[in-house]
Amino acid sequence: MFRAGSGGCVVSDTIGCLDHAFSRPAIRFENVTKTFGSYTAIRGVSLDVREGAFVSVVGPSGCGKSTLLNLAAGLISSSEGSVSVFGERLSGLNRHAAYMFQQEGLLPWKTVLENVTLGLTFRGVKPQEAEATGREWIHRVGLDDFSSAFPAQLSGGMRKRAAMAQSWIVDSGILLMDEPFSALDVHTRLRMESILLELWTAAPRTVLFVTHDLEEALALADEVVVLSAGPASHVVSRYSIDLPRPRDLIDIRTEPRFVELYREIWASLKQEVLKSYARTE
C-alpha cells in the first residue's frame, strides 16, 4: 500500500496535494450536502482523504461530524454531491470500510472471541482459522485473559479494546471512527489512543477519526479538518500535522510544536465553538 510520509505535502493548499497525481484518495467527498427533512446537516463539503493517512475531523457538538462518517460508511446517502471510495462512486454500504461507533456495537450474547471474529465469520472464514486470527488480535489489544468473557463482564475500556480488535481484524482499507473514546476516563482514553496508534503503525490504513477533542485529534492525526458549527456545516480549514512519528502520546501534549499547532487550530475552532454556543442559547 502506498503511503506518503507525514508532513510531505501541504494539504491546506487549495489546488491539492501533489500526491494526488499518483495516489487516488481513499475517500473523496465532492460538494456533499445532506439534509434530514428540513434540517441541513452538512452543506457543500469537499474533502479528500489520502490513502494511508490518519485524518481527524473536529468541530463543535452537532456539527454533522457523524453525518460525514455515516456518508463515508454508506449507511446514509448524500442529498447532493457524491462520495467516492478508491475512485468509485459509493452506492450502498462501503465494503472497504470498518466502522468503530461511539457506543461499541458488541453482541451481548457472544463472547469476546466470538465478537472479535464476527467479521471473519460473516466472510465465511473457517472457524479454526478465525479463532487463531481472533486470538492474535485479542492479544494485540491486551485482552488475552478475557477471550471467553461476555461484554457485560468487561469494563468500558476493555469493551473498547474488544471493539477495536473487532473492527481491525477485518482487513479493510478504511477505518471510520466516531468519537470512540469519548465515554472513557482520561487515563483509559490515553491508553486506548496509544493502542490505536500501535495498531495503525503496525498495519497502516486510512483512518477518518471524528472527535470533539482537539488534543486527541492533534496527537493522533496526519491532518486535522475543522468543521463549522451546524446546521449546514462545511469544512472551515485543514491543517497538516508535521509532528514526527512514532509519537509518544504521554509526552506529546507538552512539546512546543504540539502547543504551537494547538494554538493555531484552536484559533479557528474557537470561532465555531462560540457560534454553536450562540445558536443554542
Binding site: K110, L118, F122, P151, A152, Q166, S167
Partner: protein
Amino acid sequence: MVLWQALLGAAILGAWQFLADRGTLDKFFFSRPSDIVLRMAQWIRTGSIWPHLLVTLEEALLAFVIGGIAGIVFGFGLARVPWLGALLDPYIKTLNALPRVVLAPIFLLWFGLGIWSKVVLGVTVVFFVVFFNTHQGIREVDPVVVNNARMLGASEWNLIRHVFVPSALTWVFSSLHVSIGFAMIAVVVGEYLGASRGVGYLISQAEGVFDTTGVFAGITILSAVVLLVGWGVDRLERWLLRWKAY
C-alpha cells in the same frame, strides 16, 4: 428464614388438622391434611397418579413447543415485514383480548376429548406470550448493533442468525416462566372441562362425587409439579441467559 417459613406452613396445616379433628371445620367440605397426605401416598403407591400426571405434562409440553415455535415465527415475520404486521395488528390484538377459556368448549367439539383439544387451548395461550416477546425482542435491537454488524459484512441472513434471532430469544427465554405456567393452567382447565385422563380430570372427577380429599390431593400434586417445573425453568433460563447475569 427457611425455618420460619417452615414453621408458618406447619402452623397453618396444624390448625387445619386440629380444627377438622375437633369438628369446627366440616371434614366433608374441608377434608384434613392427614387424609390428603394418605390419599396422595395411596395414589403414588398404587401408581394410579402417573398416567394422569404424564398426560398433563405431555399436553403442556406440546402446547409450549407448538405455541412457542408459532409465536417465534409469527413474531419474527410480522416484525420484519412491517406491512404484514400492520395488516394483522387489529386481529392479533382482538384475539389476544379474548378470554381463552371460552374457547375450550369449541376446541372440545373440534378436537374431541383426547389430548389435542387441551394442547390447542394451551397453544392459544402460549402463542401470544411468545409472539409479543419475539416482536419486542426484534424491535428492541439496538440500531448501533445492527449497523456495526452490517459494517462488518453481515448479510441479511447473518443479521437474522447472529443478531435478530438471539435478541428475540432473549425475550422469549425471559418469559419462559410465564409461558410454561400458562401452558399448565390452560391444559388443566381443558382437562377439567372434558377429558378422560389428566390431573384436571382427576380433580373434576373427585369434585363430582364430593370427594374433597381427592380435590385437595390433586391440587397439591399439581402445585408440586408446577413448582418443580418452575425450578427447572429457572435453572435453564439462568444458563441460557448467562451472558446477562453480571
